[in-house]
């Protein structure tokens, strides 16, 4: 909650620090009289804290104001979120499967060929700019092989197959960077848990390697993985914006970029507020996921 408030204040102050009054954005033929009228109507002649209080009060009631084309900001944002959510979810699923899987493999065969291969690939994944992978994948899969469409978007509900064809490239590209981070974290977490006593016990009991890796070691490593996903969400959102821009998907990220390109202040404030809120909500979910993964958290919570 504090995080959302502080982030929203930061944006508000930052945007107001920009040169020119937001009233300028209403077009050039603003005579001093209209200028004053707009200033007054949008409380721009009042002190900054008053403006902020008014804005946040309305935002709490679901009213994010009107953007510079006169469209309600809240409505625009809500319309853009499903696409972005789908993109982000797909990316998280892909990167988790890829990153956690590769991390487990690397840790299990530590210091041997699979470990080196996986680590090298992960390092390459960290060194490659996501937007370049996006460009190259468009060249290869869309422009030359014609397997997948290069840009655009079809709603999941109107045509699920077409929707997936549009989403697969952007979400895989988006997933690669996150997968590399996840792989490295999973690997080191797995190495930690594999050296624990209970793993030796499990081996001594004669459990199968699958059960040891899967239900003993991995389960404990997933706590780290979950934290990383939560932490990487800010980066993921930045990535989403660029990927949406390149693939021509009109989602939340593209809307945010567009707001900045157009200097649409109400829209900028709205998108950042929504982004910050989303970040906090997801981190809350991450905290909840802990209690599913780690009984100790549950016990500590219950005893309080």
């Amino acid at each position: 909650m504090v995080v959302v408030l502080l982030a929203s204040m930061l944006v508000f102050a930052g945007i107001r620090a920009l040169p020119g009054s937001p009233a300028d954005a209403f077009g050039t033929p603003s005579t001093p009289a209209t200028f004053a009228f707009i200033q007054h109507k949008y409380l721009l002649d009042r002190p900054l804290p008053v403006q902020y209080a008014k804005w946040i009060w309305l935002a709490l009631h679901g009213d994010l104001g009107v953007d510079e084309r006169g469209l309600p900001v809240g409505h625009t944002i809500v319309g853009r979120i499903p696409v972005t959510l789908e993109l982000a979810m797909l990316a998280i699923v892909f990167s988790t499967v890829l990153g956690v899987g590769a991390g487990v493999i690397a840790a299990w065969w530590q210091g041997r060929v699979p470990d080196y291969v996986v680590r090298l690939v992960a390092l390459a994944g960290l060194s490659v700019p996501g937007f370049w992978v996006a460009l190259v994948s468009i060249i290869v899969f869309a422009a030359n092989l014609h397997w997948l469409p290069a840009s655009g978007f079809v709603s999941l509900f109107s045509n699920p197959v077409q929707n997936l064809r549009h989403m697969i490239l952007p979400s895989v590209v988006l997933a690669l960077g996150l997968a590399a981070v996840l792989m490295r974290q999973t690997r080191s977490a797995m190495l930690d848990s594999l050296s624990a006593d209970y793993i030796r016990t499990a081996f001594a009991k004669g459990l199968s390697p699958w059960r040891i890796a899967g239900s003993h070691a991995l389960r404990n490593s997933l706590i780290t993985t979950t934290t990383v996903i939560g932490l990487e969400l800010g980066a993921l959102l930045s990535g989403v914006a660029i990927i949406e821009q390149i693939f021509g998907i009109s989602g939340f990220g593209q809307l945010t970029l567009q707001a900045v390109y157009d200097r649409d202040y109400p829209l900028m404030q709205g998108t950042v507020l929504v982004a910050a809120t989303g970040y906090v909500v997801v981190n809350l979910l991450v905290d909840l996921a802990y209690s599913l993964l780690d009984p100790r958290v549950r016990v500590a919570g219950a005893s309080q």
Binding site: S127, L135, I139, A143
Partner: protein
């Protein structure tokens, strides 16, 4: 954007055997570093990039802005080794000149992030209490803020340029660096030799400057080396979106943005700058990884 992911790598709250590092001789460390093939390869590639960037005016066969309208979008030839772009400019020369922007942004942004983050993080970790609480909260806020918005906001306020991109990258990375510095000084504070210094009634300033900072230098070097590639990618991304280096100045990100117009006719235009970014940041990552292996006692198991 995978920018700054690198910092997060494997630096959870870990206890370190502090103090034993000093006993290694530097020669021994250097030899152990060079014996790792990937570190060596990284160092060599890096040396090539830095040398060509420093001596760009001698190495590059053409001026980065010289146009040759008789050879537009030409393929590789003996005259233009990597061909020419849509305005007939020599791609190789632009790559070489563009490396300056990338390296400059990468190194300066990282130094800036450290200059901001280390004092804050060290103080937070060392003093603890409400100071730490406030700093940790603020760091969380900064982390919640999508970095791209910050960078773009700065570019809009100060007009986009390499300097604003570097500033934004430095500020954007600082929160993660604060976490690292804070974690380090938090663990160092509990070390016996710090307690001994306190018992000897050393002042806080002396403890911070003489005992805490020198002992986290190796961690900072490793983190810094891993931050540079992230910042290089960040610079390329910002320039690509038009919030960094402004065309016609050469920058790998600008070249990629230009290449978008010829994706079908001349796909190699999009290939070379991307490969350059990839190789450059990969070599930094190799070097950083190697440094971590030799400097971090935790990995010596």
């Amino acid at each position: 954007m995978s920018f700054a992911n690198a910092v997060l790598e494997e630096n959870g709250p870990e206890s370190k055997s502090v103090g034993s590092r000093r006993t290694h001789s530097y020669w021994l460390l250097a030899r152990r570093f060079l014996r790792r093939p990937f570190s060596l390869v990284g160092l060599v590639i890096l040396a090539v990039f830095v040398t060509t960037a420093l001596f760009a005016s001698w190495v590059a066969p053409f001026s980065p802005s010289a146009t040759d309208f008789n050879a537009i979008l030409s393929g590789p030839s003996s005259h233009h080794l990597l061909g020419t772009d849509g305005l007939g400019r020599d791609v190789l020369s632009r790559l070489i000149w563009g490396s300056r922007a990338s390296l400059q942004a990468g190194v300066l942004a990282t130094l800036l992030a450290m200059a901001i983050a280390v004092p804050i993080g060290v103080v937070a970790g060392y003093y603890g209490g409400w100071v730490d609480l406030v700093i940790a909260r603020l760091t969380d806020v900064m982390l919640a803020f999508p970095f791209l918005i910050l960078a773009i906001g700065l570019a809009v306020i100060l007009s986009p340029s390499l300097t604003t991109a570097t500033l934004a990258l430095g500020i954007g990375t600082a929160p993660r660096m604060i976490r690292v510095a804070r974690g380090e000084s938090l663990t160092l504070r509990e070390a016996d030799f710090i307690r001994a210094a306190i018992a000897n009634s050393a002042s806080d300033a002396v403890i911070l400057a003489r005992h805490i900072l020198p002992n986290m230098v190796s961690t900072l070097i490793v983190q810094g080396t891993l931050l540079i590639p992230a910042a290089i990618i960040g610079e390329a991304t910002l320039s690509f979106l038009g919030f960094g280096v402004q065309p016609p100045a050469p920058s790998w990100g600008v070249m990629l943005a230009d290449s978008q117009a010829y994706l079908t006719q001349a796909p190699t235009q999009a290939l070379y700058p991307g490969l350059a970014i990839f190789l450059c940041s990969l070599s930094f990552n190799f070097v950083g990884d190697g440094l971590r292996e030799i400097l971090d006692p935790k990995t010596q198991r």
